[in-house]
């Protein structure tokens, strides 16, 4: 990590005063960004801060409205991604964009195959591909299909392809999100090797630990504006987070006592399910939630967490079990039926099962109450406006523009939109499936705080999250599932994180039980 500022050598990439606006949104506002040869530079910011937009400006996907981009000291204007590639800028995305149905070698050499007598010399091509791959420490059969390899290997193939294109700038956009620890180490080894060869690397990740492990320098964006550029050693983690969200993170402490809050379980539960199950989906399971209580569901992905709440909500039909709402037995057969019983459910898949992308923020928020009222009685405009502006303000939805299309919002803001949709229906039980997945710290804190606040005011909540710290912080009781089966329940004040992990792993025979 020796960063010598050599003023004689122009930086590899210099972006000055970059401004890009979309209808209703100023995505980037006069942002400067500098990327030097032989460094790993991390671009940080919340969802919606403008990271993607900046990268898309650099790769020629978006045209810039104002500002200048120079590559190696020479000013360039990119009209297409091909222009950017020709300038030596290559991107490796989270979802690998190679041809899965071609061989590894074909993918690496695509468009640059060595020729002999006008025809492609395949054996030479595969030899060259193997050399490039070996340069990254990868020895695999270049004649195997790309799709037969793991995402980690496919990413390395994408990187070697960038090397074939003679990339001077390599952009890694969330490359580690589906890699395990060993694969991440391997990738970082390759990245360090390239850095030492003088490649300029832009690394984007949600994982702070990885940023601190690999990056030499950090640029922070917030709300489309540049916050600053820092050497990694000059910026402690909590300072970085504060700069990203524009306020101190200790607000999270305010909700820390949510889990400690005493819940009165003497009355009738708001919802009580016994033996709720469906063959092939979930073994019969019990769950009950009392007024003002947050019940967390913990377990690994595919443990039956989502299945349980979908049965409860009527999104899937249960084939066994009995459900009581406020003491009276009901048979919930459809989402609509659940909503009529004041149960609301926000799916883990925001895009496919949550927002209606082509409708506006306002239309998305009002959809829940409108659906409940039926199509005949349209909610009056004035009433709609009042509801919408109330929730945009109380949940801090950004941009605070009711007429923006929902799909143009960042993940965290889409999640807030869904929360608003359901809160507007005044539910008694709110089921949140992974409400904070893939969203940034600021929005996450907003959502956690709102849940804590609402439950303290009497709302019952079922909270599902893969982040066990989060579950333990918010929920008073945690129901644990494993292998599509409920294995038990713990009081969250009586167990710490390790205890809960142990419980999940050891089927309730661990120390926590």
């Amino acid at each position: 990590m020796t960063l010598t500022q050599d003023s004689a050598v122009p930086p590899m990439i210099e972006m000055r005063g970059i401004t890009i606006s979309f209808p209703g949104v100023l995505a980037l506002d006069d942002v400067d960004f500098t990327l030097r040869a032989g460094e790993v530079h991390s671009l940080m910011g919340e969802n919606g801060a403008g990271k993607s937009t900046l990268i898309k400006a650099l790769t020629g996907v978006y045209a810039i409205d104002a500002g200048a981009i120079s590559v190696g000291g020479e000013e360039r204007s990119f009209h297409s991604t091909a222009d950017a590639q020709a300038a030596g800028i290559s991107t490796v995305y989270q979802e690998v964009n190679l041809c899965a149905n071609l061989t590894v070698g074909e993918n690496v050499m695509l468009g640059h195959e060595p020729r002999k007598g006008g025809r492609i010399d395949w054996s030479a091509a595969h030899r060259a591909a193997a050399e490039h791959l070996a340069g990254l420490g990868l020895t695999i059969d270049t004649r195997s299909m790309l799709s037969s390899h793991s995402i980690a290997v496919q990413q390395l193939v994408a990187i070697s392809r960038a090397m074939v294109l003679d990339a001077k700038v390599l952009i890694l956009d969330e490359p580690t999100s589906s890699l395990d620890r060993g694969e991440v180490d391997n990738l970082f080894g390759v990245v360090r090797g390239l850095r030492d060869k003088g490649v300029a690397i832009l690394f984007v990740s949600h994982f702070l630990d990885q940023v601190y492990e690999i990056a030499d320098r950090i640029t922070v964006l917030r709300n489309g504006k540049l916050v600053g550029e820092y050497a990694i050693g000059d910026l402690a983690r909590d300072q970085l987070v504060t700069k990203m969200i524009g306020r101190a993170l200790n607000e999270l402490d305010a909700i820390a006592d949510s889990a400690e809050r005493a819940v009165d379980r003497s009355g009738t539960p708001v919802i009580k399910a016994e033996g709720l199950g469906k063959r092939g989906l979930l073994e019969p399971a019990d769950i009950d939630v009392y007024e003002g209580e947050v019940v967390g569901l913990a377990g690994l992905l595919g443990s039956g967490r989502t299945e349980l709440v979908r049965l409860l909500y009527g999104a899937d039909r249960a084939d066994s079990g009995a459900v009581e709402i406020a003491g009276s037995p009901v048979k919930i057969t459809s989402p609509r039926h659940a909503i009529d019983n004041h149960v609301a459910f926000s799916s883990e898949d925001r895009r496919a099962e949550g927002i209606i992308g082509d409708l506006t923020v306002a239309e998305n928020i009002v959809l829940g109450i409108q659906a409940r009222k039926g199509w005949v009685h349209k909610i009056r405009k004035a009433e709609q406006d009042a509801i919408v502006s109330e929730y945009i303000a109380s949940l801090d939805v950004r941009p605070a523009n009711p007429n923006a299309l929902a799909r143009n919002l960042s993940g965290g803001n889409q999640q807030k939109l869904l929360l608003a949709r359901w809160l507007a229906t005044a539910p008694q039980l709110l089921i949140l499936d992974e409400p904070t997945r893939g969203i940034d710290v600021g929005a996450k804190a907003d959502i956690q705080r709102k849940v804590a606040e609402l439950s303290a005011a009497g709302l019952s909540v079922i909270f599902i999250s893969s982040e066990l710290e989060e579950v333990l912080r918010i929920a008073q009781r945690v129901v644990v599932l494993r292998d599509r089966k409920r294995i038990g329940e713990v009081d969250s004040s009586a167990v710490d994180l390790d205890g809960l992990v142990d419980y999940i792993a050891n089927e309730g025979k661990g120390t926590a039980a």
Binding site: G45, Y62, Y313, P335, E353, I355, L359, R372
Partner: protein, 349 residues
Amino acid sequence: MKTIVKHRLFWPSASLLALIVINTIARGSFVKITVRDGELYGALIDILRNSAPLMLVALGMTIVIATRGIDLSVGAIMAVSGAVSLQIIAGSDEPDNIGVVATAVLAALGVSLVLGAWNGFLVSVVGIQPIIATLVLMLAGRGVALLITGGFITTVNSEPYEFIATGYLLLLPFAFVLAMVIVAVVGFVERRSALGVLTEAVGINPEASRLAGVRSRGIVWGAYIVSGVLAGIAGILYSSNIRAADANAAGLLIELYAILAVVLGGTSLMGGKFSIAGTVIGVLIIQTLESTILFLGVPSAQSPVFFALVVVIVVLIQSPRVHTWGRKLFGGSRSRDSSKPSSDVEVAA
């Protein structure tokens, strides 16, 4: 000016206007409208009158397409509807009796409603793909119509029935007035109630809409019923105009013209956002084009080619990508819309 150009109905309207201007230049009498016995006459009035059946069918198609569906059976439903009403009138002793005609019309509409409900049932309850579900009736419907007429072309002489297609009301052709009233009523119901936005929600994201509590089955089913009834009315207009129930010719290929009108009006075949006003303009473009072919004396053998050429030109004029090229060629300055169509924008970081 800029906001006018950006309005989604700008290019469809401009295309329609251009067609009218071209006709007028070719022959000035195109825009001439005369009053005779309190009735308006002229080429433009003919266009309005003749557009009525397609207007109704395209209106229903717009709503079905908004739900991510398609209704190929509208032409066949027109044939059945005409056959039912004419068979009742022809079979009665007093074809001029208004009661008989009313019964015939109501029976035809009832049958159309049942056929629309059948389509809706297949799509929304059974879950068959719309194109296949409505193909069933498209193929079988004309057979049903022939069955009703006994294999003949039923003809009638009934003044009240003929009035529907050829009569006048308040200076204007009754058929056009009827179509516009229905368009206005449907448009009013869709936009003044929440039906329009719920229909769009179902069309954009069916699963999210279901989880949000929207009764999507009812909305989809209803769309096919509306489409069926509107096709039924179109069938009555058609049979009233020719005073005959021709099971093979009634509404032939009208499903394709209706889809074309919907697309020309700016509604996407992917479902979701729809524009009834756009569809009305789309229908008028198609009908004006039909008249242009007659008016300019294009030989009938070549008329399909001429029609296709003009449609291609109109579609190109409306294409956002062509607009970009146009700006690059003539504008000089670099437009930022070129690389960022607002529909593909993702502001998320």
